[in-house]
C-alpha cells in the first residue's frame, strides 16, 4: 500500500469499522440499528399511521383539523405529566402517584383561587411547590431508607387522593370562571397563523445551523463528519416540510393551541437538559449503572432528588392544565387512567422502564399516540370500559416491545 497523501481523520484510523458516509450509508446504518433492537421512534411512527388509518376509516371526522386541534389541547396536560415520568424512568425508578399529584394540584388551584379568592399566580405557585415537596419526600424516602419508589409513590397516590377529596370538601367540585385567562388558555387560545408557520420553520433551520456549526468545528480538529452535508440537508428538509404541512392543515381549523406550545417548549427544554448538560449525562449514568456513577463522583442522591422533584412538579403543572381544560377542579381529576396514560406515553415513546434509556421526545410522541387512541375511541362512542381495556392492551404491547428490544440490544452488544 502506498502512503496516503493526507492524514486520516482522528476517528477513522481503525479499518475494522464500516463508516456510513453518504445518504445511502445513513439509511443503511438506520436499518442496522433497528435490526439490532435500537428501535428509536419507529414503533411510534408505525403506531400513529396504523391508528390514523383505522380511526379515519371508521369515522372520517378523526382526521378533521378541528378534531386534531382538540387532540392537541387534550395532549398537553397528560404530556406534561409524562415528561416528568420520563425523568424518573431514566433513573430506573417509577412514580405511580402522578395522577393523584395532578388531581391534588387542580384541587389546590380551585380552593386557593376560587374558594379563598387569592390571585391565580399565587395558587399556581402553591400547587407547583406542593409538587416539588412531594418529589423531595419520595427521593428522601429512597435515599435515606432505601424505600423502593414503587412502594413510596403507591403510598403517596392514596395519601394525595385523600388530601384532594378533603380539600374539595362535600361539594365535590369547584368550577373555574370561564372568562378567566387560565380557562381560556386551556380551551380557546390558539397561536396566530404567521407565528405557527414561523415555529414550523424554526426546528429545521436550527438543525441546519447547529449541524453546519458542528461540522465546521469537527473539521477544524480533524474529526470526520458522518453523513456530511447531504444527510443534514435531507433531515432538516424533511422535518421542515412535514411540520409546514402539519401546521398548514391545523390552521385550516382552529389552529395550534398555545397550551400545546407550552408543552412542546417544556419538551425542548428538557431535551436540552438531558442531552447537552452534565446533569443529563449524570441522569443516564445513574440509570445505567448506579454504582459506576457514584464512583465517578456523581452525587446519586442529588440526582434522584432532582428527578423526583421535576416529575412531581410537572405532574402538578399537568393537573392545572387539565383543570383549565375542563374549567373545573373535581374529585375525578387525576383519577382513572391519567396515571397509566402518562406512564404508557413515556414507554410508547421509547423510554425504557429499565432505566438508562429515553428521551424527552418520547413524552411528546407517546402522548400523541395515547391521546389519538382515546380521542378515536370517544369518536366511535365507545364506553369507557372498552376504552380502558384497549388502552391497557396498548400499554402491554408497548412494554413487550421495550422488553424484546432490550433483549435484542443485549445480544447485539448495544446495551
Amino acid at each position: 500500500m502506498t502512503q496516503p497523501n493526507s492524514q486520516p481523520a482522528l476517528d477513522r484510523s481503525d479499518s475494522r469499522v464500516r463508516h456510513d458516509e453518504d445518504l445511502l450509508g445513513a439509511i443503511r446504518g438506520f436499518i442496522d440499528r433497528v435490526r439490532s433492537g435500537d428501535l428509536g421512534m419507529l414503533p411510534v411512527i408505525v403506531g400513529l399511521v396504523l391508528i390514523a388509518t383505522v380511526f379515519w376509516s371508521l369515522n372520517p371526522v378523526f382526521l378533521a383539523p378541528n378534531n386534531l386541534a382538540n387532540l392537541l389541547f387534550d395532549a398537553a396536560a397528560v404530556g406534561c405529566i409524562s415528561l416528568g415520568i420520563v425523568c424518573v424512568l431514566i433513573l430506573g425508578e417509577i412514580d405511580l402517584s402522578v395522577g393523584s399529584m395532578s388531581g391534588l394540584a387542580s384541587a389546590i388551584l380551585g380552593v386557593i383561587w376560587v374558594k379563598i379568592g387569592l390571585p391565580v399566580p399565587l395558587a399556581i405557585l402553591v400547587a407547583l411547590a406542593a409538587g416539588a415537596f412531594m418529589g423531595l419526600v419520595y427521593a428522601t424516602l429512597l435515599n435515606r431508607f432505601g424505600m423502593p419508589s414503587f412502594v413510596s409513590t403507591l403510598a403517596g397516590l392514596l395519601a394525595m387522593l385523600g388530601l384532594q377529596l378533603y380539600l374539595l370538601g362535600s361539594t365535590g367540585s369547584i368550577n373555574l370562571p370561564y372568562a378567566s385567562v387560565m380557562v381560556r388558555f386551556g380551551q380557546i387560545y390558539v397561536m396566530p397563523a404567521w407565528f405557527s408557520y414561523l415555529l414550523a420553520i424554526a426546528p429545521g433551520a436550527l438543525m441546519l445551523w447547529l449541524g453546519i456549526d458542528r461540522m465546521r468545528r469537527r473539521a477544524a480538529v480533524n474529526l470526520s463528519n458522518p453523513g456530511g452535508m447531504s444527510v443534514l440537508l435531507a433531515k432538516s428538509g424533511i422535518l421542515t416540510v412535514l411540520l409546514l404541512v402539519a401546521v398548514h392543515y391545523l390552521n385550516q381549523g382552529r389552529g395550534i393551541p398555545w397550551m400545546f406550545g407550552l408543552f412542546v417548549a417544556l419538551v425542548v427544554g428538557m431535551n436540552y437538559a438531558l442531552t447537552r448538560t452534565k446533569w443529563g449525562r449524570a441522569m443516564f449514568a445513574v440509570g445505567g449503572n448506579r454504582e459506576a456513577a457514584r464512583r465517578s463522583g456523581i452525587d446519586v442522591h442529588r440526582i434522584r432528588i432532582s428527578a423526583f422533584m421535576l416529575c412531581s412538579t410537572l405532574a402538578a403543572l399537568g393537573g392545572m392544565l387539565a383543570a383549565s381544560r375542563l374549567a373545573s377542579s373535581s374529585q375525578q381529576a387525576g383519577t382513572g387512567d391519567v396515571n397509566l396514560n402518562a406512564i404508557a406515553a413515556a414507554v410508547i415513546g421509547g423510554t425504557s422502564l429499565f432505566g438508562g434509556r429515553g428521551s424527552a421526545w418520547s413524552a411528546l410522541l407517546g402522548v400523541i399516540v395515547i391521546q389519538a387512541i382515546s380521542n378515536g375511541l370517544t369518536l366511535l362512542n365507545l364506553s369507557s370500559s372498552l376504552r380502558y381495556m384497549i388502552t391497557g392492551a396498548v400499554l402491554a404491547v408497548a412494554v413487550i416491545v421495550d422488553s424484546l428490544a432490550r433483549q435484542s440490544r443485549a445480544s447485539h452488544g448495544r446495551a
Binding site: L10, D11, D14, R16, V17, R214, R217, R218, V221, L223, R276, T277, K278, W279, R281, A282, F284, A285, G287, G288, N289, E291, A292, A293, R294, R295, S296, G297, I298, D299, G356, R357, R409, A410, G413, R414, A415
Partner: protein, 265 residues
Amino acid sequence: MAESQSSAQPILKLRGVSKQFGAVQALEDIELDVYPGEVVALVGDNGAGKSTLVKVLAGVHQPSSGMIEFMGKPVSMDSPGKAIELGIATVFQDLALCENLDVVANLFLGQELSPWALDEVQMEVQAWTLLRELSARIPSVREPIASLSGGQRQTVAIARSLLTNPRIIMLDEPTAALGVAQTAEVLNLIERVRDRDLGVILISHNMEDVRAVADRIVVLRLGRNNGVFTAADSNSDLIAAITGATENAVSRRQARKLEPAGDLT
C-alpha cells in the same frame, strides 16, 4: 532506587488504618507508602483485605480508624468525588463503566467539559488523543460500552482514570480478564504511567505480572501487613508471606511434583 525514594516525599502515606464491617476486622493497622514514579504491588490471598483497602483509598468506604496523608497533609476521603479531586484515580475490578453510554461519555463521566453546554467535539478529540497515547485499539468512541470487548473496556477504564491528571492510580486486578497480548499491553501501560512520575498501586493475584512491573511488593494477610518484598526476592518467600507459612498448599504441591521426578532419575 531505594535511596532516591527515601529522600523524596511519599505521595500517599497510610498509618494504622483499620476498617471494621460489624464484627469482621477487614483491615487492621495497615501501613503503606507510595512514592512518585513507583509501582507498588499489593498482593494477598482471597480475603486479605486488598479490595477493602482499595475502596478505602478510593473514598468508597471510610476507615474506622487511622491516618491517611496525601502529599504530606492528612486528608479524609468521605466520598469517591473527594478522592478524585485529591488526585487518586481508581480502576475498579468491575471497571464501573456505564454500558448504556458511549466511550466519550464514560471517559468524561463526572468531569464533563462545560457542564451547561457539553463540548462534545472537544471531548471526542481529547478521548481520541488519550486513547492513542495509550495505543488503545477502540474502533469507535461513539458506540455504547456494551459493544466493546473485555480488553477494550479495561483500556477505557484505565484511560478514564488518567483523564483527571491524578497523582496516584490504583488498578484492582487489571489483567484478570485479559488475554496474553492485552495483559502485556496493560503492563506496558502501567510502565508508561509510572514514567510520567505517577504513583501506581497494582493489585493482582498474578505473581508473574507483579514481578514484571512492581518496584515493591506489599503483602497483606488477613487484613494486616505481612512484609514488603522486591521483585528480586524468591518466589517461595513471597508465597510464604501471602499464605502465612512455609508449609503451605503451594509448597506441598511443588514438593509433590518434584518427588516423582526425583524417583525417575
